[in-house]
Symmetry: C2
DNA sequence: ATTGGTGATTCGTGATCACACATTCAGATT
DNA sequence: AATCTGAATGTGTGATCACGAATCACCAAT
């Protein structure tokens, strides 16, 4: 046993086996579903319901749900159970301003810290996202978008602020199924991404911050327009099957 | 039962009785302790240990600890159990920049939204904090400082971003026992608070943001200086009882 | 004296159970 | 016809137990 820790016994290179707990697996699965907008806003989750769905007892689910609630990804529902937060214009506005402030700040920091190697790595992420966008692969574009921003912020901060940023990303999850199928927005968005990438290559922090502001601002505008359209549609035929 | 919900029965104004769960009480107590720096950074907490300390089974403690871990107030410790995050200069720097960006943004928003009534209410909070600062009441000043910032942000955002801000406040908790006893810093800090308050009264958002930047920046500088002093002291006599 | 193995102890994880409470709907009462 | 009452159902909360894993203390052997 001690041999595994000493390391002076020149063993062949072994990977360390992941020690995932069951509650963690449930959490990751739920988190993924929320972040990609696979839950309907307002949908409620029950302990026993989720437990049956994932095939475990209620115990790991309890841990996963309290964690998601603590992160604000789930809120108290009507009566019993937890609820995927409903979408409101007010929250969207707040998320927009907060994310621009925070992520803009981090991107600015990253601009002065990225090495040439970091930039070529980022180039690959950018190219992959660009290819998917041109091919009309919406889901792939969303994944690439996530990776692109993530790769930038990783150089502007460490775990603490990264956790905060990821938390905000999780909170726009419920809005995300509104923007997903929009190809026009995606093409538009790639321009902002190019602006960000060029700024980082020049080491121009302020331009990078401005690019982030443009990117997140455009996305929020797009979501807001679709939300308003939906509300207008609901006004016309308020009750329908 | 239905009567309580209908509300059309003109009952006398009754407060709704808080439905606190046991896990929530444990959480609140631990959170309070962390935010005010009553735990030593690096200290580890065990399920059974906390359960015995608060006089409950391990069950509510489990919920409270996973929640605190989700919020980043506790991290995985060495071996078993959770740990109060240790203090590092890197984290302090990140927290500083992130808080300035986020809280500055929210204060700017608040400047254009506060009514005269809001401002007179804020005046009272300010005066109370000022009185405590002059009297040398350190603990009272810290409470007042918290209330002052909180009162401002309440007008610049709602729950979502407020939760994020409170989360960042909780994360500087472990650093806080370093700044607490410093009277010189407190007097210095009140100047920044006055600058913030005046800016809000003029509706000058940019000046309010600058005031926040000054306030948080000064506090971070102060903590950093003390951290460096401590490290230097530990260098001289690394092992001692 | 240092290393390596062994046992006891402690801890987190997850399962199962008991309990309190909220919601719903059916039937009785006014 | 409207309202109250009651049981049935489903839910979160908390206690207790079982199991596996990790840490520590102790002892033996080199």
């Amino acid at each position: 046993m001690a041999a595994a820790r000493s390391g002076s016994q020149d063993l062949p290179a072994l990977e360390l086996v992941p020690r995932e707990t069951m509650a963690e697996r449930v959490y990751i699965q739920l988190r993924e579903a929320i972040m990609t907008g696979r839950f309907a806003p307002g949908q409620t989750l029950t302990l026993r319901g989720v437990a049956e769905a994932v095939g475990s007892s209620t115990m790991p689910v309890r841990g996963a749900l309290t964690r998601l609630q603590a992160e604000g990804a789930l809120v108290d529902g009507p009566g019993r159970g937890l609820m995927v937060p409903p979408m409101t214009l007010e929250i969207l506005d707040e998320l927009r301003d907060g994310r621009i402030a925070l992520e803009g700040c981090i991107a600015k920091r990253a601009a002065t810290r990225m090495t040439k190697a970091d930039l070529t790595a980022l180039q690959r992420v950018f190219d992959r996202m660009d290819a998917r966008a041109r091919a009309g692969d919406v889901a792939g574009y969303l994944r690439g978008n996530f990776e692109f921003h993530q790769a930038i912020y990783a150089h502007g901060c460490s775990e603490v602020m990264m956790g905060t940023i990821q938390n905000l990303w999780m909170r726009i999850g419920p809005f995300l199924n509104l923007v997903a199928p929009d190809l026009a927005h995606i093409a538009h968005s790639m321009e902002a991404h190019k602006q960000i990438f060029d700024a980082l290559r020049r080491g121009d922090g302020e331009a990078a911050r401005a690019g982030i502001e443009r990117d997140l601002g455009d996305a929020a505008d797009d979501i807001k327009a679709r939300l308003l359209n939906r509300e207008a549609a609901n006004m016309e035929q308020p009750e329908t099957a």
